[in-house]
């Protein structure tokens, strides 16, 4: 029978098949952990006297609560709270005790969990990957079955390397046609979510397909899969191909030599068979997508940046419009910006930083606007500095920080002030996500950078060269 990428991944990891009474027991090839969602899981192991079954398949990093400012004169990192520091030390202790490799504070490979997995090639096609973070869907860009789990499940995986799961339904979202120049993966994601809704993918494992997806770089595919959860889908995937293999080859944890050739041969079998059936098929017109922003408090409230704020159609939309203070029928470009955040596992990779730098080069961040640029990992920070991007940002008046989640989740002290309008390359525009009372507008890196320069929400095309940029 013809099988989809998802079917193949699922079938290959069933330890005990699903029955009416019980979910399947699935084997997990890679378990990523971080400081926020793991302490209570380790506590359960403690209570039950269980060891970590496969420390060799577990990778820890520090990202959510860690400061993005360097140590102060006393050599101490400026933690937001004592609890935040305690959480970091707790993970260090848990990893030491259980023999888990931790990308610690001074590790040159440290970074946001969904950025470092691919960078180290821990993320590979064909793997099952879980993490106590909903944006684990990011790793699906490599043709992996990757999804976010809760802390109880983190405990299950630590103890058994397995998880209880019912097989979700499958959905294929096909982007037809080619993207226009200046339109990126974040715009594709926001346009897709606007089309199907914040719960449109609920209960589905989604495969992104079509020529516009095949043309994307790995970094852009990660941005797209990252946002699958914002459409309600726990899983977002792209079939592995030469672009995938080229990205992985030679990286730290990629198979080497003959093992590499054998792995690639296996991975080539993974893409969906031609006649594979999906429970749901969605088509998105890629050519019609423009640079997008969000105007509400749910990621599906998205529209082209050059447009006007729509009229609210119901109570929820009216409340959202009141909170966001966008006047109906007025251009988004009239909205004054207070802060810009370029970072997060959605858009903090080299391609994103280069895109932002292209807009900021030789220009100045508008008076009164604070712009924060936070690379996704140490490796990215080093590379960006080698390319001189940090100087471009500094000369423009933006702040160049240490890697971490930062203002994506705003729990490390980086946050907006009440009432501020923040244009952010992260993934959630929920009320208060970036600080109490903060109004978040989601956008791609070029749009965010353009808004920092203009001081109001701005279309990036006015700042970009006319030459068509590569599809990255």
């Amino acid at each position: 029978m013809a099988r989809s990428l998802f079917d193949k991944l699922w079938d290959a990891h069933v330890v005990v098949p699903e029955s009416e009474d019980s979910p399947a027991i699935l084997f997990i090839d890679l378990h990523l952990i971080h400081e926020v969602t793991s302490p209570q899981a380790f506590a359960v192991l403690e209570e039950r006297g269980l060891p970590v079954r496969r420390p060799d398949l577990t990778q820890a990093t520090l990202d959510h609560s860690t400061p993005t400012l360097p140590p102060g004169p006393d050599g101490r990192l400026p933690y937001a709270t004592e609890d935040a520091e305690k959480q970091v030390h707790q993970l260090e202790a848990n990893c030491a005790k259980h023999g888990i490799d931790l990308l610690g504070l001074d590790d040159p490979r440290r970074g946001i969990v969904h950025v470092v997995g691919p960078e180290l090639a821990l993320t590979q096609p064909g793997k099952t990957i879980v993490c106590g973070d909903s944006h684990t869907s990011t790793h699906g860009a490599f043709g992996a079955l990757a999804f976010g789990i809760g802390t109880t499940e983190v405990g299950h995986v630590l103890a058994t390397q397995c998880i209880l799961q019912r097989k979700p339904k499958s959905m294929r979202i096909t982007f037809e046609g080619e993207l226009s120049p200046g339109v990126g993966a974040k715009d594709m994601a926001l346009a897709m979510i606007a089309q199907i809704g914040a719960d449109g993918g609920q209960g589905y494992a989604v495969e992104f397909a079509g020529p516009a997806v095949e043309a994307l770089s790995m970094e852009a595919r990660m941005t797209l899969c990252n946002m699958a959860i914002e459409a309600g889908a726990r899983v977002g995937m792209v079939a592995p191909d030469d672009t995938t293999f080229a990205y992985l080859e030679g990286r730290e944890r990629a198979p080497q030599g003959e093992a590499w050739d054998a792995a690639v041969a296996r991975w080539r079998e993974l893409p969906s068979d031609r006649d594979a059936q999906f429970d749901s098929e969605v088509r998105v017109d890629a050519a019609a997508i423009r640079p997008m922003i969000t105007f509400g408090v749910s990621p599906d409230a998205a529209a082209p940046v050059t447009g006007n704020a729509p009229r609210p159609a119901n109570d929820s939309e009216r409340e959202a419009a009141e909170y966001m203070r966008f006047a109906a029928d007025r251009p988004f470009a009239e909205a004054k910006v207070d802060r810009v955040f370029i970072g997060s596992c959605t858009n903090s990779r080299m391609a994103d930083l280069r895109e932002a730098a292209e807009v900021m080069r030789g220009r100045k961040v508008a008076d009164g606007v604070i712009a924060l640029i936070v690379p996704g990992s140490e490796a990215i920070r080093q590379q960006a500095e080698a390319e001189g991007l940090h100087t471009v940002f500094a000369e423009a008046g933006a702040e160049w920080r240490m890697p971490g989640c930062s203002m994506c989740i705003a729990m490390n002290g980086d946050q907006g002030a009440p009432g501020e309008l923040v244009v952010s390359t992260s993934n959630r525009n929920f009320v208060g996500r970036q600080g109490k009372g903060v109004r978040t507008v989601l956008a791609g890196p070029a749009t965010a950078a353009a808004s920092a320069i203009a001081g109001h929400i701005a279309d990036p095309s006015q700042y970009l060269g006319t030459e068509a940029r590569d599809a990255a």
């Binding site: 009474d21 019980s22 084997f27 926020v36 709270t81 305690k86 103890a159 390397q161 959630r428 109490k436």
Partner: protein
Amino acid sequence: MQPEPFNRLEARTLVVRQSNIDTDQIIPARFLTTTTREGLGKSAFYDWRYTEDDQPKNASPFPVAGAGDRQVLVAGANFGCGSSREHAPWALLDYGFRAVISSDIADIFKSNALKNGLLPVEVDQRTHAALLERPGIRIVIDLESCTLETEDDIRAQFTVEPFARRCLLDGVDPLGHIVAHEEAIAAYEAAAA
């Protein structure tokens, strides 16, 4: 930690009509720097309950003291979307809720809630609309028969994933269930190596 068994709940409802109530509303991220799961009730819906300078808001639908006898939260569509933080159901339980009713509840939240004895109940649009109209109504939720019934005769069936239902009714331990398949896991590992 095993949740308390859940069988039948008789309580009143607390209604919030908004759709897309996300996990950042249920518990803002700044309260996630904890290493335990206890005592999160004070942070539940914090920014709905308190002003920016931490004063109780008069107009909040959520009583400062806790849910009291309104143990059933009825909310708009797509409840619990957003992050995978299990702190969300921990906070709701500690605040005093035992069940959440909506027309659809986000996958990860649902799974987290079930593991902690907070019953997620998805009902049809008509029932949902009717419950949204009647804040504070008495309701009986029976997990054995998967039915709910209100004092003014709204009745509905719902479904709960059968394994999770058994865990809640009979106190089956999911981790124990996986551990019981040790042989199959070891065989899988051996074959994969």
